[in-house]
């Protein structure tokens, strides 16, 4: 009887989870839906099918400039955040120094700072050092925003590598550098790629911080923000948004697969590790 009651509860819970997923996805899926709709107005009933809005995306210099800007900033910021994530978490786990532990703790602090404050603190900083709002300023901001994510990913990866592997390398005479470069880095490669991709996505989508740090050349979210004011350009924004959604989903999917593969190889190599 109690088993039956439990099953009953599980059934309702399943329905709830399904409804929750609908709530999660329905608003987002409206964007692709209306991007093919032959009307300026985003409302039902749908008018007709059109690819017109996608056609307007081509040959738009402001858009391609913003896209290129976002790509360059995303790659550089993701590289910076991943480098910091690797070194900070590696030293936190194996460095055995209070300084490394402090750096690691502070590096996860940006989670507790609202984006608007990250934005203005960096705005004051880059003005103080004479840089001003610029692409470099945006890169710095995005490194900060992505840092907690890369540190957490790399930390769990390094922690999953059996300690004996590193000790064996050191015992066999490898220097810290060699151990790090030839043993630890290759073993954590899937996590590194995953951290890089997620950091890239964070930078690519980030708006709240970039708003304060952008000079004359906007990133893609800033371009979208500027277009949202004009009702006539909303369908184009939806076409653009659909393209961004598709690419983001693909990158997030690949990052997820890599993260899983990394974790499962860690588990598989664990018992037979020294070989």
């Amino acid at each position: 009887m109690s088993a039956a009651r439990r099953d009953d509860g599980r059934g309702w819970l399943g329905v709830y989870v399904l409804a929750y997923l609908v709530f999660l996805y329905l608003p987002v899926l409206l964007i692709p839906l209306f991007s093919f709709n032959n009307s300026i107005q985003a409302a039902f009933p749908l008018q007709g099918f059109t690819l017109e809005w996608y056609a307007t995306l081509y040959g738009n210099p402001a858009l391609s400039g913003a896209l290129l800007n976002s790509l360059v900033i995303g790659v550089v910021a993701a590289a910076g955040a991943t480098l910091c994530g690797i070194t900070v978490s590696y030293m936190d786990l194996y460095g055995r120094s209070p300084l490394a532990a402090t750096i690691s703790a502070i590096s996860r602090l940006p989670i507790l700072i609202p984006g608007v404050i990250v934005g203005i603190s960096l705005l004051i900083l880059v003005n103080l050092i004479g840089l001003g709002p610029s692409r470099i300023a945006i890169v710095l901001g995005h490194i900060l925003v992505a840092l907690p994510t890369t540190v957490v990913i790399m930390r769990s990866r390094f922690a999953a590598i059996p300690k004996t592997i590193r000790e064996a390398a050191l015992d066999l005479g490898a220097s810290d550098w060699t151990t790090f470069r030839r043993v630890m880095l290759p073993l954590s490669l899937p996590a590194i790629v995953s951290a890089f991709m997620l950091a890239f996505l964070i930078s690519f989508d980030e708006f709240i911080v970039v708003f304060f740090l952008a000079g004359t050349e906007p990133t893609l979210p800033l371009y979208i923000w500027s277009q949202l004011r004009f009702p006539r350009s909303l369908p184009t924004v939806m076409a653009l948004g659909t393209a961004i959604l598709a690419v983001s989903v693909i990158i997030a999917g690949i990052a997820e697969i890599l993260r899983h593969r990394g974790l499962s190889t860690a588990r598989r190599t664990a018992p037979t590790s020294p070989a």
């Binding site: 109690s2 009651r5 819970l13 399943g14 709830y16 989870v17 929750y20 709530f23 999660l24 608003p27 987002v28 409206l30 107005q41 985003a42 009933p45 910091c84 070194t87 900070v88 590696y90 030293m91 460095g95 300084l99 490394a100 750096i103 502070i106 590096s107 602090l109 940006p110 989670i111 507790l112 700072i113 609202p114 984006g115 404050i117 203005i120 004051i124 900083l125 103080l128 490194i143 900060l144 840092l147 050191l170 015992d171 220097s175 810290d176 989508d205 708006f207 709240i208 304060f212 979210p221 979208i224 949202l228 924004v237 961004i244 959604l245 983001s248 989903v249 990158i251 997030a252 899983h260």
Partner: protein, 293 residues
């Protein structure tokens, strides 16, 4: 013996290794985080004379924040809205995390991926999606009229604090599910069996065993939702209307239109103080639940 070789031969290179490995993280954390936050605190104590770092030390900015009812109202409103968003997000996310931890079975990785996926799609676009749902000529109104439930479009959806709460609860949902799921997943199944063997009914077992053990995850989720929400200025601007101005909006305008950076910095310091209080309360609650184990 081999360890002696490792530690003795390249002593200089070991120091070089430590230096190189600590450098990037050290620069970022001390310069970009600690020093930059220190600058905000410094600026908050300066008078505004239009220069970058202001002039003269003064408590005037903070006195204005405390004495002018405008800033009080907006700060309180931000706290209430962020609190409601946090409550709504955590309460609706909990059953999903529960299902993932106890009932999802082989579908678990797929479901986990599905609930985290929206996080990787643009925040700006998700807010924009809610704007087209709630607008006067929007999806909800047109759907209600098409289906005959409503005869006239209503202005009641967009530009309300409720619109801000729904939009933010949607935007931060994945943040809430993950920490709660992680906490629930670490509860040994044997604890539940023991509770049931000892005669606890499922709801009692949930209330006395599962819920207290998942509180660290709930608190982590609450923080992760509350912090970005309390300083948000995009969602209030897009779906909130003038009645939903939040403190993030005020900070943003001090660094933009109003051009009073010291005052904006003082508002930011106040936000950080509020967050610090919330973190300390959460810490205390966490310790209380930790001691019950």
């Amino acid at each position: 013996m081999s360890t002696v070789v490792a530690s003795e031969a390249p002593a200089g290179s070991a120091r070089g290794f430590r230096f190189a490995m600590l450098l990037p993280g050290g620069l970022v954390t001390f310069f970009l985080i600690l020093f930059a936050l220190g600058l905000v605190l410094f600026l908050a104590l300066r008078g505004n004379d239009g220069s970058l770092l202001g002039a003269g030390f003064t408590a005037g900015n903070f006195i204005t924040v405390v004495s002018d009812p405008l800033y009080w109202t907006v700060t309180l409103r931000s706290l209430v809205i962020a609190g409601l968003v946090t409550l709504a997000t955590v309460v609706t996310a909990y059953p999903v995390a529960y299902y993932l931890a106890f009932h999802a079975g082989r579908r678990r990785s797929l479901l986990l991926f599905l609930v985290t996926l929206p996080f990787w799609t643009s925040y700006l676009l998700r807010v924009f999606a809610w704007k087209i749902v709630l607008a006067y000529n929007g999806v909800l109104n047109s759907a209600l009229i098409e289906s005959g439930i409503w005869s006239e479009p209503t202005l009641a959806f967009l530009n309300t604090p409720a619109a801000v709460v729904v939009t933010l609860a949607h935007a931060y949902a994945p943040f809430a599910i993950l920490p709660i799921y992680v906490a629930l997943d670490t509860i040994p199944k044997s604890l539940l069996e023991a509770a049931s063997d000892l005669g606890a009914r499922p709801f009692t077992a949930f209330r006395r065993v599962v819920l207290p053990n998942s509180m660290p995850g709930v608190l982590a989720a609450a923080l992760v939702v509350f912090v970005p929400t309390v300083g948000d200025y995009v969602t209030p601007a897009m779906v909130g209307g003038p009645a939903s101005t939040m403190i993030g909006t005020l900070i943003q305008s001090q660094f933009g239109k109003a051009n009073d950076w010291p005052f904006g910095a003082a508002l930011s310091v106040c936000v950080m103080l509020v967050i610090l209080c919330v973190v300390l309360v959460a810490r205390g609650a966490d310790r209380k639940f930790g001691s019950r184990k």
